[in-house]
């Protein structure tokens, strides 16, 4: 009778016990390099934020994609429809994500313009995925005033 009970217990464990593959499910990994802000032309108020490398790997069946937001404004969204991974390099975003540079001291530091919060989020349906955010400071833009030459 004892042997019979052990046999049934073993069968129950095999049939209904935790599977070894369950531990490997729902893994999402996000790699983000730090963002940077550049002012390509010094006499314009336009700066560009770029991230050198972003990649995400997910085996979550609800994996939707990846998005990049600057100061809570979504600026890029990558769809995960066919794949379980997304890799982004700066050239994929053309000339980059443009932002106003800001006047000198706009962020409290005399030699810098605005500071932006760059947020990279993994989108997972029904739950919140991993998120990385970093602050990046932009060069300032010194506006110039051109007064018309007045002649009496």
């Amino acid at each position: 009778m004892r042997r019979l009970c052990l046999v049934f217990l073993g069968l129950a464990l095999v049939l209904f016990g935790p599977s070894s593959s369950g531990a490997a499910q729902d893994q999402t990994t996000l790699f983000v390099s730090n963002p940077s802000c550049s002012q390509r032309v010094s006499d314009t108020a336009q700066c560009t934020i770029t991230i050198n490398s972003v990649s995400v790997f997910s085996n979550n069946p609800n994996f939707l994609g990846l998005q990049i937001a600057i100061n809570d404004k979504v600026r890029a969204r990558f769809t995960a429809f066919f794949e379980t991974s997304i890799a982004v390099n700066p050239a994929m975003l053309g000339s980059g994500l443009q932002v106003p540079c800001g006047r000198p001291g706009a962020s409290g530091q005399a030699n810098l313009g605005f500071i932006y919060n760059v947020q990279v989020s993994v989108l997972i349906n029904g739950s919140s995925g991993p998120t990385d955010s970093a602050l990046t400071a932009c060069p300032y833009y010194q506006s110039k005033a051109f007064l018309p030459a007045l002649r009496h």
Binding site: R75, R77, V99
Partner: protein, 178 residues
């Protein structure tokens, strides 16, 4: 008397076994595929008599499309695809001659295979991407952060520009909210 009954039982068992073996072999012969009349050898390629030829497309691999808004003060977004490749086996028709990208049913890219059996697309072949309107907040019903959702169709095409295969993905653009 007991030996006679035992012999009869053994005989019945042997007869039943023989019948079972005969029935199994007959079933196996019925299930075996019969070759087409007048054919010899494998039925692959254009000369085969199979009514539906297998696709001559060896592989078709695409990355997901994406949409971004370079300047938030403009209602201009850009859709692009990181990488896409169609490979033809170059041995049987139909042959892949083109590779197209359509956005909302409008063809935006057409690659041609003239010398090679493969067409590759990389994001930098359309510098910056394909320009589309971003759309206002919640234009696609996916939330205030998003504008329009676009259907991106990627297809290898044969000589008559008919799709040999189609991959469709929906991509959502950031909202234009100045």
């Amino acid at each position: 008397m007991r030996y006679i009954w035992a012999a009869v039982a053994v005989g019945i068992i042997l007869l039943a076994g023989l019948l079972f073996v005969v029935r199994q072999s007959a079933t196996a012969q019925q299930g075996a595929p019969t070759p087409a009349a007048g054919s010899s050898g494998p039925q692959t390629g254009p000369a085969g008599s199979i009514p539906e030829l297998p696709s001559s497309l060896q592989s078709f691999t695409v990355n997901n499309p994406y949409c971004y808004q370079p300047d938030p003060s403009l209602n201009q977004c850009y859709i692009n695809i990181r990488w896409m490749q169609g490979v033809d086996n170059n041995t049987s028709a139909p042959y892949m001659l083109y590779l197209s990208i359509s956005i909302s049913s409008k063809v935006r890219y057409m690659g041609t295979a003239f010398f090679e059996n493969a067409i590759n697309y990389s994001y930098d072949m359309a510098p910056g991407g394909f320009k589309v309107p971003c759309g206002g907040p919640n234009a696609s019903g996916l939330g205030a952060a998003y504008g329009f959702a676009y259907s991106v169709v990627m297809s290898p095409l044969d000589s008559s520009r008919s799709p040999m295969m189609t991959d469709t993905a929906s991509t959502v653009c950031p909202a234009f909210a100045p």
